[in-house]
């Protein structure tokens, strides 16, 4: 499996996906090798049962981000070659998004094995159909990957439609396999009192949590505007924003403008264990994204037993059944976000029902199930690949 991110390098849902899937495949008895980028403090080589993680340093400088991506793919290719010598050729090469297309295609032809590509997102939706040269290059790589892959996986029905539409990929070549969660991760006991104290949530204040990269796509600016309204109805509350990104300064300024700075906490990146504790201690988790191919954080919040309020976009609208296991709101609408959040926070019976149904729903999204379906897709890829 080739992926530019793998824990502790967690940029987005892709990292959690590759971790969950590779661990589940290894538990099924398969030998799984993940080739990924190095990260400060992380070991270059890790081995756990039949799961091997190889973190590759990029030992040359690049002038731009996009040339750096091609450069790290070069080092991935070299690693694939080394591994093939050491362990033998794999049965399949699996790439994730445009970032590893060039090394994945190279590995396919070099080792003469089937290629599978998972789309977690597309440049078209991520950059709002930007016409920049960089976006055109990324779209070209996406098409190339979808063309070279014997089978394509989309993480939601919305993403399957998107891939088929953008790249003219035959729909029977695309398998829809949703992201998943590890339920056991959320079955641990947590000391909610200590967690709330850590983040200065005092005296029965309601905890509203949002998690993600601080980028325009995630809609946290809408949430901060909404929170100004929420505070009028529920003054004893705090908004905890977990994650970091280029928009952090802008969002901090916005919270100041909206007069909610003192009750908004920007936590930055936190550990996985802390995230589980925060989700389990939250009164509501809001996912206000403008675009979300899947939205794994909503599923994690549901698994943690927190009621969720999500934008009615992409994969989020597929995960959440409105008013049954969460509340859906129109994207780009701070008023709607505020109304839904206040409903959850002020109606205990509703919050309990949404949380219980959400937890039950999340159990259906297991990595074991996702791994089984991915394995079937590998087998289909082997059947149709010219190299089998």
């Amino acid at each position: 499996m080739l992926s530019w991110e793998y824990p502790p390098r967690i940029i987005g849902g892709l990292s959690r996906h590759v971790e969950g899937l590779s661990k589940a495949l290894a538990l099924m008895g398969h030998e799984v090798h993940v080739i990924t980028l190095d990260f400060p403090g992380a070991a270059y080589e890790e081995e756990s049962g039949s799961l091997y993680v190889h973190r590759v340093p990029v030992n040359l400088p690049a002038p731009t981000f996009h040339s750096w991506v091609l450069l790290f793919n070069h080092f991935f290719e070299k690693k694939v070659g080394q591994m093939a010598k050491e362990f033998g050729a794999p049965d399949v090469v699996h790439i994730h998004d445009w970032l590893t297309v060039s090394s994945g295609v190279a590995a396919k032809h070099m080792l003469r094995v089937p290629l599978v590509m998972t789309f977690h997102s597309t440049e078209s939706s991520r950059s709002s159909q930007s016409q920049s040269p960089e976006s055109a290059m990324v779209e070209g790589l996406e098409w190339w990957g979808s063309f070279e892959a014997a089978r394509v996986i989309a993480v939601s029905s919305w993403m399957k439609t998107e891939v088929a539409s953008l790249f003219k990929t035959p729909t029977d070549k695309v398998s829809e396999i949703p992201n998943a969660v590890d339920p056991e991760k959320f079955e641990v006991e947590v000391d909610s009192h200590a967690i709330r104290e850590k983040w200065k949530i005092y005296n029965g204040e309601k905890l509203i949590t949002a998690v993600g990269r601080l980028t325009a796509q995630k809609g946290f600016d809408d949430l901060i505007k909404a929170y100004a309204n929420i505070r009028r109805s529920i003054p004893a509350s705090k908004l905890l924003v977990v994650g970091d990104g280029y928009m952090r300064g802008e969002l901090e300024s916005l919270s100041n403008q909206e007069h909610v700075k003192d009750s908004t906490i920007f936590a930055g990146f936190i550990s996985e264990a802390d995230l589980v504790g925060v989700l389990k201690s939250s009164d509501v988790v809001v996912v206000p994204s403008r675009f979300e191919p899947f939205g794994i954080i909503a599923l994690e919040a549901m698994a943690a037993g927190a009621p969720v309020v999500v934008s009615r976009v992409g994969g989020l609208a597929e995960i959440v059944d409105d008013s049954v296991d969460g509340l859906e709101v129109e994207p780009n609408n701070p008023v709607a976000i505020a109304e839904a959040t206040v409903r959850v926070l002020s109606d205990g019976a509703l919050a309990t029902r949404l949380a219980e149904n959400g937890r039950a729903k999340a159990k259906a999204y297991s990595w074991a199930s996702a791994a089984k379906r991915t394995l079937e897709t590998y087998q289909e890829a082997a059947r149709v690949s010219k190299y089998e």
Partner: protein
């Protein structure tokens, strides 16, 4: 984060400044960005204060490299 901070953060990542051995100085970064050294030094201070980078060495000859948060933030618009 300002556009210039974003550019600097991204530059540190693509140049591989992720460890003390690969730390880079403000003069080298300024030359690559085509801006003044003092401007880069101000931006670097902001990145260090924000937890995105670590500064090593003596004042005037210090170098910086990215923290894990810096790496993730630099990557955050592309995933």
């Amino acid at each position: 984060m300002s556009e210039s901070s974003k550019r600097l953060l991204s530059l540190l990542m693509v140049l591989g400044a992720q460890s003390p051995e690969k730390a880079l100085g403000s003069e080298e970064l300024a030359a690559k960005l085509g801006v003044g050294t003092s401007e880069v030094e101000d931006e670097l201070k902001r990145l260090v204060d924000g937890g995105y980078a670590v500064s090593i060495g003596k004042s005037g000859a210090s170098k910086v490299y990215l923290t894990g948060t810096g790496v993730i933030t630099a990557s955050s618009t592309y995933s």
